[in-house]
């Protein structure tokens, strides 16, 4: 894991350095943000899944707990790696421009969209998540804590989604948007957990159950996306439909297509019993890749280009995160 992460990071660096040299620095911020949203999302999704299981019980979650804990432990790493983003708000948020240059609607939002308040919210979320992750990693503490944790997660993830995924396009707003982020986080975390479980070997019955569960989460994710698309498409309001137009033009349609192929492929494979059971790890990887593509598709088109520079920064951040996670795990193994 460490080696794979380092290789990825080096490849990313090979793209990112020229980007920086040729004055495409702002593009790096977008790529970095996408990677961080994905990595943070895996940890947050793991927290969500773990606490839901603590409340509902069921055999599906017992085997899943260790990989979920490991993912949750990745949270401090991801937070640490996100710090550079705080330094380049101008590249991420158009509303940092002088107020008189902004459209009237955006000016009306400035009491919320301003850097001091944004940083305060981010810090609050980070602290809450650190507490949640540390407590989760050291074992479950019963229903009451899980309830509180889930409520805190729902609220903080909503704030996070609005601040870092929606605010880059300040004229756009959609009330279902944070729920889509939650669904991606949990689906991605489940997929990552399943990959880890498959490496350690898993009995057929569990594979069957967990595969169905992953299918259920994928359906939930697809449902939320479809509802937002249907409503925005039907109304065709300028401040909404541009979210989709921007994500279908300038080559981003290819990313959308790739995400659709990956996720639909994962869905078909998960619904198909024999494929689900025989190629369990591969199907889970497909699902994770699909959810990753979805994160990239939601984040990147709002950011300054070009795409290759964004990809470089994303690969660098993802690689560093993977490598750090691998080191953490190795240290833990040595302690155990």
């Amino acid at each position: 894991m460490t080696r794979a992460g380092l290789i990825l990071a080096v490849c990313g660096l090979a793209l990112a350095v020229p980007a920086g040299v040729f004055g495409e620095g702002p593009a790096l911020a977008g790529g970095w943000l996408a990677a961080m949203v994905f990595c943070l999302g895996l940890s947050l999704g793991a927290l969500g899944l773990g606490h839901i299981h603590a409340l509902t019980g069921g055999r599906w979650g017992e085997r899943l707990q260790p990989p979920l804990r490991a993912l949750a432990m990745g949270l401090p790493v991801a937070l640490l790696l996100s710090l550079p983003l705080v330094l380049v708000p101008g590249a991420l948020f158009p509303w940092t421009a002088p107020a008189e240059t902004l459209p009237e609607v955006v000016r009306a939002k400035l009491p919320y969209l301003n850097l001091p308040f944004l940083y305060a919210r981010a810090a609050l979320c980070a602290v809450a998540w650190l507490i949640l992750a540390l407590r989760f990693a050291t074992g479950a503490r019963g229903g009451a804590e899980s309830v509180v944790s889930l409520i805190v997660l729902a609220l903080t993830v909503s704030v996070f989604d609005i601040d870092w995924l929606m605010a880059p396009e300040p004229e756009f707003y959609s009330t279902i948007h944070p729920l889509i982020a939650m669904a991606t986080m949990m689906t991605g975390a489940l997929a990552a957990g399943l990959i880890a479980l498959d490496r350690r070997g898993l009995e057929t019955e569990r594979k069957d159950d967990l595969g169905k569960l992953a299918f259920g989460f994928l359906l939930l994710w697809a449902y939320l996306h479809y509802m937002q698309w249907l409503i925005v498409w039907s109304s065709d309001l300028p401040h909404e439909i541009h979210w989709y137009l921007d994500r279908a033009r300038h080559g981003w349609g290819w990313l959308l297509g790739a995400g659709l192929v990956l996720n639909i492929g994962a869905g078909v494979a998960l619904a198909w019993r024999s494929v689900r059971l025989r190629r369990f790890g591969a199907v889970a990887a497909l699902l994770l890749a699909g959810q990753g593509a979805d994160v990239a598709w939601r984040v990147l088109p709002a950011m300054p280009g070009p795409g290759w520079a964004q990809a470089g920064a994303a690969a660098l951040a993802l690689g560093l995160w993977l490598a750090a996670l691998g080191l953490l795990r190795r240290r833990e193994a040595r302690h155990a």
Binding site: Y226, W229, L230, W233, S234, D236
Partner: protein, 174 residues
Amino acid sequence: MTADPRPALMAAFPDEHALCAAARALAGRPGMDAFTPYPVEGLAETLGMRRTRLPLAMLAGGMAGAVFVYALILYSVTIAYPINVGGRGLNAWPAYLMLAFEGGILGAALAGGFGLFRANGLPQLHDPVFATPGFTFARGGGFWLLVPLGGDTADALRARLTDLGGERVEEVPQ
């Protein structure tokens, strides 16, 4: 599906385990059936049932429903009466998917429901099994095994069933 005309015996067992054990012991005889107050897992396979194709029928029904609805919509918006709504194309698939989905669910459910009754040969209001002395579906605890005589004599089979734990062995009236 009509009632099996072969002469047969029915034996009552005290519980599902005794019934399953007896069914396993007699497995392979043609035309066996069992009657239980609730579903008993694996019993039908023991009695030689092949995997039911009803799920496939439901899949086909679902596909047919969805395709039919979408085709109907396409026909009506492109051939029967094309109307420009809000400048979107005539084939406004984001909206039509919703209806195709409902059509698919309806098709699958109808295929499953009616397929179930058809595969089970219901309604079958009159059946020789009902007239077997002592048989009733009502009193919980009635676990019955129906075994056609095949080559055996009635007495031999009766003895065999009693050996297997049958508490009561009756002839199925013709």
